[in-house]
């Protein structure tokens, strides 16, 4: 916007607080713009001590705030880290406590390093492309992208990226995830030990190489080792894990399997909690009639009655590892890709009961 005579005129009445620029500070300090810039950016070895002090003082009294858009344009990159979260139209992916808490931790850590967090709820590949480029983001963090999307994403931009909860065959991928296979295995083994032989698996669709697929494999492999097979009708697939009506329907389905099924592994605490409540409403008690194991160890797993036995993962660690890896790659462009797989463990609470080997009694 040019500073024409009439914009000045209007400002007289509008009382817009004037924007302070490097130039203003330079004039006031009787130095060049570059010297002020050096002070602002901490290149103090390029400025004499006295001048630096004086300039710092003026910067403070004038409440100078750097114009991030100008800086980004000149440097060809910004201090923005784009966070890409898959969103299904009409749903709210942040109503998942897992996603929400993870995002919160990520943003906090990003801010700690001085980055700005721009959140993009993405539905299409075009969304990703646009968001990745338009703000010259310094780096990007992806949540829950699928294998087949990752290669495409890589070709879109060469800024450092970290993928959370993604499996991929792409080499040189920086990623943070958990041992989903083990999580599934742990649940299966625990059910087995407690005498369960007829078990259900409840989850969103197990897309190729997805988190869910790995949990399912760990679960199936372990059951198989114990000569148990999971029949097709014991596999409940929820198209949405946040839509109440979808979850409710699955609860009814499981309720109808009473007697034929003694236990169910539900791949999130959020869903598992709905199952506990929902089953109770239909007269089925957890764990007396059906035992349940959840996933995540979110606060909600302690708010149900009975409290949920669940697979624990460390969310805040997942978040900080992701940001730390990104930060290393941003600081030193030659830094290699890093991947971290966090461990999981089973937290024993009250939603699983021991039954006789005939699959009926306590």
């Amino acid at each position: 916007m040019k500073n024409t005579w009439y914009t000045r005129f209007i400002n007289l009445f509008w009382e817009e607080p004037p924007t302070i620029t490097l130039k203003d500070i330079a004039k006031e300090a009787n130095v060049s713009l570059m010297t002020v810039s050096n002070v602002v950016n901490g290149n103090l070895h390029k400025v004499s001590k006295e001048k630096a002090e004086e300039i710092k003082h003026i910067l403070e009294t004038r409440h100078y705030v750097q114009n991030a858009t100008a800086r980004s344009l000149a440097k060809a990159h910004s201090n923005i880290v784009a966070i890409m979260l898959r969103n299904v139209r009409g749903e709210n992916s942040m109503s998942s406590p897992h996603n929400a808490a993870l995002l919160g931790e990520i943003i906090q850590r990003l801010q700690f390093y001085g980055y700005y967090a721009m959140i993009n709820l993405v539905e299409t590949r075009e969304d990703i492309a646009r968001n990745l480029k338009s703000w010259n983001a310094r780096g990007a963090i992806f949540l829950g992208m699928l294998d087949n999307e990752i290669e495409q994403i890589y070709s879109l931009s060469s800024i450092p990226m970290v993928f959370i909860d993604s499996y991929s065959n792409v080499r040189q991928l920086s990623s943070v995830g958990i041992d989903d296979y083990k999580g599934g295995a742990l649940a299966a083994e625990y059910f087995w030990e407690k005498g369960h032989r007829s078990i259900a698996f409840v989850s969103p669709p197990d897309y190729e190489n997805s988190v869910i697929q790995h949990r399912l494999r760990g679960f199936l492999d372990t059951l198989e080792r114990h000569q148990i097979t999971l029949t097709a009708d014991h596999r409940l697939v929820l198209e949405s894990d946040v839509e109440p009506s979808v979850v409710e329907r699955a609860v009814q389905k499981l309720a109808s399997m009473r007697g034929r099924v003694t236990a169910a592994f539900v791949t999130s605490d959020q869903m598992a909690a709905s199952f506990v409540g929902g089953l109770y409403a239909t007269g089925i008690r957890v764990p007396e009639d059906i035992s349940i194991i959840g996933f995540d160890n979110m606060p909600i797993s302690r708010q149900t009655t009975p409290q949920l036995t669940t697979i624990e993962q460390n969310l805040s660690q997942k978040a900080s590892f992701a940001v730390d890896i990104l930060e290393r790659r941003l600081k030193t462009p030659s830094a290699p890709a890093e991947s971290r797989i966090l461990d999981v463990r089973l937290v024993e609470r009250a939603s699983v009961i021991r039954i006789g080997s005939n699959g009926k009694d306590k």
Copy 2:
């Protein structure tokens, strides 16, 4: 970054996908940069139809993405809407399902209008000042700011702002909130009808003119009309509503009041759910021993056993009203400040029991 001979040289090996600019497109289309700019920005009445089509085609095949930092610098404002969320150091304010779901809805609606959402977890006033200015944000949405902060925030910048869940005496304030007073009153009235006379109020601190204070007032006024007073020890204050240990301590406190208290109004479902689970663990049954009313009507209120009677508020409406008000003020700068207070209602479920007027029996 200047395009010197050696940066070109390096690029030869780096294979950075080249950034396409207006200039590149202009050259390819044999028109001036301005004509391309007009097409990109939809000022089609300034361009002949044939040229427009041709340029559009080139834009597409070249995957042109506008450089938002350059645009923002030239226009003196960006398409970013800053979302300010109060955060307490060491806690994660997004682990509150209410905040998380609200944020998700806001971001979705912001994206619908073509804005970018930058999330700022703010701890100090300096955080707000910096975040408000540095990106030339087009507008800002504040969550849960207190009365005494709002005036200061106003003086920081004159971009359009909308406050969610804030009470303030500042005139010309655009805000969206709910009828907190009524929410408190509804809970008190319901307890009264069900025969409860000795009631507790559980919440975070009731800062001056805060959401909590208004709920408390509605609650107290209603009890008073029925000649009931809430004694000081029946007022449980939680310094944090997300820290499990803090909530746990409050649960113990309420448990110790068994017999002296027959009901408790807990100002969020999240906390209320912890109370239901926590009390059960100490052998106190809800609602038989203590009745509970929550607030928000979040999914969790249906996942507890018993399901929570709660005060419902419409989160997605709160979010879209906030964004819509902001959008109107952005489109037409002369648009007046708007405030909306959403209604609340009591959702009756199973966490409150009727007791005899002597305060003991069913």
